[in-house]
Symmetry: C3
């Protein structure tokens, strides 16, 4: 891929969905709209290989050539998200199982088990065939593997091939059953195993399964995705040198470790459907906010994912699918506000995207997404989003660095541990994004990185939900803490690598780092609240006893934790045990000020994001707002 | 059946549930109460044939004779809703599958798959045996097939016999797999089939199945019911000439095409449980209205079904089961208001019923309905409903035509398409009944008919939810439109026969008929509203661009559809794209006035219905109301 | 067990969960804390018998000896709640089935079917091995069988071994299929059986199963638990003479007949988790009360269970597991209020407990309960509950009789009948506990007993939900009624022994006893209310016609029951048909006063309980309250 100097635009297209006589005209229109790339062939296995071993390339030859001749770069996809009917009927053992023990049937997409050796062989076979044909085509700029790993709850299969492969994965990890039984604490309910083959997936148990069992199953399933993709990528590297390889990840997807799955890629991409996903968010976006942002999506939820994927490999990313009209798969599917497509595009740029690719060219006239929009309507006339793209001056959106001085540490293992045993407390994404939103509302740029990443360029590191901290990780963080401030959230350093509690209580061997030991923790039902430092605490409270040299930033008021520390500071390390929007905001505001990060409280719905020396000021409100002397129209942006 | 000059009354009775020594006394009481007919033997297979081939007719001989001798006409039922244990254990392949892939077990009723060849053979066998025995009995007036097709979600079985029969049905319909793949748009996610046997029911897919697949499965299952019943009816016609054959349908049942299933009958009947079904209604009857009408049911929901079944075959119908006390199967089971049984009976008459048959004679003292009421209590004393029936002067309720000048078009395929992909919009029944309620609140009589029915006697045709309009159907409607006005609702003419969108956008080739093209559509979450012509729009909005010669009746205000047409009029064809109670009411009020239909806004809970030159004025309110100078007691009626 | 003169304290401990080097120190600490007993080995099968037939006793020898040498009495458990992996993999037919037909898998606990002959053999085998080894150990004071029968919905298995055993149980009960078909009313929907083998569990039926079928399945499953436990108890009696045998029952557990299951025990115990169970209660504890009592639990819900288990065998009981900090398995898990552990302990004493055993010694650092508290924290420091136990002066809590003059009749068969066909009315526990709460709020001590128990020492007998009254039971009650007053609730004497209605209506042959016949009953949706005697009636109303000699205590006002009797009195027998908190309270207040029971309306959250001549005054409010001149701190008690 060339190194562009301003934002590229692209589109997802499905030539096989429309008559052949449309292709040249579409390509011409795409080029005229200012697009650089077109992603094709995403789900087209049944057209590439209508019967086993019988390949049909002529249509795809045409499609690639038409785009290339129009001056558009082509992104091809391995079509493995949709194994065709002939393959499934011949090998039903490819099918995944849901958590209720049912086979998930053919008839939509993603109907395969990542661990299936049969499917992996076919995945390699079709990847090789495709890469041999197009790997060195002059129009080809890159590859997308499969599509949206984990979508529709497919990251984990609870039977079949995955169940068969799990024991060997465990044996490789633990070596002996004694080690596994000890790591999982299987003595607890006589759950000790005496043969590897006794161990199944942790579903359909009478009551909840052992959380250590659940945690290792999550790791195992994530590893199966890593292996599945690596096999495709090895073939693409071999047969298609010089082209990028990426995958299109999803918003807040939790089913696998994105750091490990992306390791073999050139850069990550993600699929950004702001209004559609708003309805899928948990309770941390309340009904009122869902209505308020119904036509734009929530600015911080989108920004969080931009910053997550920019931080994933510490390099620029793409938005591979960008909503440009109504979607069809949410409980409610309103039209985006006037200006929303433009705002989403520039926000993506400001958070580090090098390319934004709209989904999709023409609205599908068939099947599951027949009510979904595209840049063109069903009748091929330009839809509302088309005109917003046409009006965009992408040359103003020059590429460059995002100057984030604040890192937010994010870790999928901590996510799995917290969400499988929430104990009534906030979910991982809820707790984590509450810190992110506080930072954004202070006008601060953030990069979301793995806890083991190099942190040298950050002045402040926020770790809202880092419940998994090994000795090695702590040693590293201790080193990092020499040069920068840290803020930790509730349930930090609570669990060991296998999901047990530390034998010596919370913070384990790390009490001197945090400057505290935990006294008690509790979750609070709606309506039951206490206070900390004058701020309301909901859902979760964790009380600390400060150690010598530590300062108590806030005490609890009310409830059994009365008088215990709700937040402590030990040198540059702050730990907040209370789930309290107010306390988090105040703590970050003061600390950021102290660190010279110039925190600036923003009005609701106003956000600022910086890239390459420019600042994008965004108004996400459906009303006009005056901010710092500038008048901002409803759902609009300005570049400063 | 003789042609009665006033309303007949009847009752459902189960002699096999009570000791033999009660039968004569019950028959005498039934006659004295003024009943004409008694329906018996509905679920009595295990008594007719306790073991395979071993028939026991003597008890049923007695039952039929006792009724006949008391001067009561007998309606017999084929008992196929309840295959006995011996049959199921011998042929478990008769059992249906639920959508989660589980076999639905013996132990209640309706435990059979309509497509089962084994069960069809037994269905024919018991029907023949019964018809041979009683087909020409002088006391026999008619037959009811089975009971309540589709009840308990049994219209569709997702496995077993239905799964086995589906591919052949598809092959017969499409001829080639290419045709099927094209019709369904299977290319969309590589869902293309290469062998008929690859195609299964559309359940347990990873995410939603192809809606065209779902639609054809609905059609297939409906056809299985048609075939199942036709086989019984052929035998009854052969062995029981001169007797009517009917089936007792249900309220708002959606699982099959009632027009096709009723085609082989003499007239339809339906089972009217006003309070019980009120709790089962969707959100379009809100909690407040459910409480307000808890003791009567909602007048328009009942009337809708009367008008639906009168229009089904364009002839008078029966209410085969009429609630006459509390039911036992709803979430809450209040006693009907004083007067409700009388009101329900006269309302049925006014909407075209020739007979109302109460369910049931004596309250069951056993099994699933042990808490259900009857005309007699458990202890055989007359219950509250009995006395209301006794006081009815049925001779005032003379039979005759319902002078409806307004037709409402109803179509099960449109229902299936809308409800399987609601996209956040209103459900079919909700959208359809909002137009019906508007008409009823204007005092207008309505007939509900199939969109392909002759419409010559109507002045106004309302098609609230006709999303399926083929070229042929449109040609017919275009002809109809010459002589009358039309009102269409949102999502009209949106989908092709196989459930795809038109390649040239909404209204397809019919834009000149409607005088508009569709710009955009959207669904609105609760709390997100816009306006159209000053009226509030909720849930769904569809914006039009008027074509030349069309008049815009209302524009959208607010939201991305601002300024687009919410309702257009093209000659006598009005199309309303907004889900707006106010706009629908206003549009119908004006148009009905223009057409000389004399719309008369009624107070809440007051309804008028006309038959045979008389007008039934009904007060459904629990309070006294003065209307047009008449004082109407709570829950009462008067004949004008 | 010795007969102690004051309350004993104890703890549940799991030596196998901690390193061997902790055991002596823990025992010493336990003794110093004033504990008398330690319960161990509850789930330790995989440590007792790591492989089939290979027993490992040395660790348990040590554990028992260490406790004994420290002066602590040992309670051992049969470990059958947790069959180990090797047994399940060898005999998967042991596993139970859920109501959806799925096998419930290994991986937590209670994964067995009580009816399994294979599992029963292994249950006897491990019980015998354990009893042979420790049955006569001088430190052993008693045995607990298994753990919490029925927990996680395990009382009933819907397949496998239970399905196989059900027909024989039925044949033994009914003798002939004709008798069974008649008892169940199987003629209703042709559900008549012609072979015992045709009869399966009542799940997965198309619509609800026959309630008589469901009722007998409940009885059968309860009997399987009886048999399962009796086999263990016979072995313990044989090999461990002089030690008590008990089982730890649960709060409001409904899955089996506790009277029958406890018959072979010496005394019952139960597991008291006040805050955890509060979240699990149904709607009869509203959201506001759940928040108000979030840190203590609801006083009457706890007291009800104390009185239930004291009445179960008419003797003192133990609390075998007493919450002493936060639990981890409720939707929300707040910390108990300061003082709550002390209050719970003394309340248990006042209601007849001879021993309170805390759960658990040290918080588990592993597995499913890793976030649960104990007397010690994870880090082995004493937690908040520890200090409350330390401060308790248990010598003040002298044992003695609870002087209850009021009996509340409770019957599991009535519970099953009401809850399987609620008809929209209140659930059994809701209806029953509303009477209990009324009595408690009047300061009255209550004993909960079986309806067939001797009632001679009671002045007032309250039977809130006795829907099952056989002729024999009525004869006995009629005798009891000679010397005391009775109050019955709605739906009394409604059903026959097999779950049918009486052929002669409600009250069957007992109308002269109650002085009334039932006219009608109804359930009321939320928002639909009527009145009775000026009090609001919700959810359920039952109207009576008084017989000669009966007095109407309250009439209905509003609704179809207008003017009917809502409560009647016939001599000393009062029957209340309305679900009305106010009417129940008023009726009980007046009657208790008339009977000289000195009812004393208490302020909210204040409760009094009497034992052995002393009165425990309890303040369950989170605020200070002045009551009868005494100032009571928040969540506190005083002994008078």
């Amino acid at each position: 891929m060339t190194s562009p100097s301003s934002l590229h635009l692209a589109v997802c297209d499905y030539p096989e969905h429309v008559p052949r006589d449309r292709w040249e005209a579409y390509a011409r229109q795409q080029k005229e709209l200012g697009l650089s790339f077109v992603r094709i062939a995403e789900f087209a296995w049944s057209r590439m290989e209508p019967r086993e071993g019988q390949f049909e390339w002529s249509w795809l030859d045409d499609a690639v050539n038409v785009l290339h001749e129009a001056g558009l770069g082509v992104v091809l996809c391995t079509p493995t998200a949709t194994p065709p009917a002939w393959l499934i009927r011949q090998h039903p053992e490819i099918l995944p199982y849901d958590e209720f023990g049912r086979v998930r049937a053919f008839g939509s997409r993603r109907h395969y088990d990542f661990a299936s050796p049969v499917y992996r062989a076919h995945s390699r076979r079709i990847t090789r065939a495709l890469a041999e044909r197009y790997g060195q085509h002059p129009g080809l700029v890159g590859w997308q593997t499969d599509n949206e790993f984990g979508c529709h709850g497919t990251a984990r299969s609870f039977g079949g091939a995955s169940a068969a492969a799990f024991p060997a994965w465990l044996e490789k990890k633990y070596g002996t059953l004694d080690a596994l039984n000890e790591a999982w604490g299987n003595v607890f309910w006589s759950m000790e195993y005496t043969a590897w083959e006794q161990i199944g997936p942790p579903n359909l148990t009478v009551t909840e399964a052992n959380p250590s069992h659940v945690l290792d199953y999550a790791r195992f399933c994530s590893d199966m995705i890593v292996e599945f993709q690596e096999q495709q990528v090895a073939i693409l590297r071999e047969l298609s040198p010089g082209r990028f390889v990426t995958h299109n990840f999803m918003i807040f997807e939790s089913g696998f470790d994105h750091y490990r799955v992306s390791a073999c890629l050139d850069f990550p991409t993600w699929d950004n459907y702001p209004t559609g996903m708003l309805e899928h968010f948990g309770k941390w976006v309340g009904e009122d906010l869902k209505t308020y942002y119904a036509r734009t999506g929530h600015p911080d939820a989108i920004a969080f994912n931009h910053d997550l994927y920019r931080g994933l490999m510490r390099r620029p990313f793409w938005v591979m699918e960008q909503q440009c009209g109504q979607v069809n798969w949410a409980p409610y599917n309103p039209l985006p506000a006037d200006g929303a497509v433009s705002l989403w595009t520039t926000q993506a740029w400001a958070h580090g995207a090098d390319c934004v690719s709209y989904f999709r060219w023409r609205a599908a006239t068939m099947a599951q997404e027949v009510l979904h929009s595209g840049l063109l309507r069903h009748d091929e006339t330009p839809d509302r989003g088309f005109f917003e793209v046409e009006r965009l001056k992408r040359e103003d959106l020059v590429l460059g660095d995002v100057p984030a001085k604040v890192a937010l540490l994010h870790d999928y293992e901590s996510l799995w541990v917290l969400d499988q045993q929430p104990h009534g407390g906030p979910a991982y994404w809820e707790q984590t994004s509450s810190y992110y939103t506080a930072l954004r509302s202070l006008g601060i740029d953030v990069e979301i990185v793995h806890p083991d990443a190099h942190l040298s360029r950050f002045a402040l590191v926020v770790a809202p939900s880092l419940t998994m901290i090994s000795d090695a990780r702590l040693e590293k963080l201790r080193g990092d803490a020499a040069g920068r401030a840290f803020v930790f959230g509730p349930r930090t350093a609570f669990r060991t690598a296998s999901g047990r509690a530390h034998e010596n209580g919370q913070f384990g061997n790390f009490k001197t780092f945090f400057g505290a030991r935990v006294l008690n923790f509790e979750s609070l039902r709606p309506g039951l609240t206490i206070k900390a430092g004058g701020h309301e605490v909901t859902t979760w409270a964790e009380g600390y006893e400060p150690l010598e040299g530590a300062e108590v930033l806030a005490h609890y008021e009310g409830g059994p934790l009365e008088g215990a520390a709700a937040a402590v500071r030990h040198g540059q390390v702050v730990t907040i045990g209370a789930n309290s929007t107010g306390l988090v905001w105040e703590t970050l505001y003061r600390l950021a000020g102290e660190l010279g990060l110039n925190p600036t409280p923003l009005p609701p719905g106003i956000r600022v994001s910086r890239r390459g020396g420019r600042t994008l000021v965004q108004n996400w409100n459906p009303e006009r707002v005056t901010f710092e002397g500038r008048e901002l129209g409803p759902v609009s942006w300005t570049l400063v």
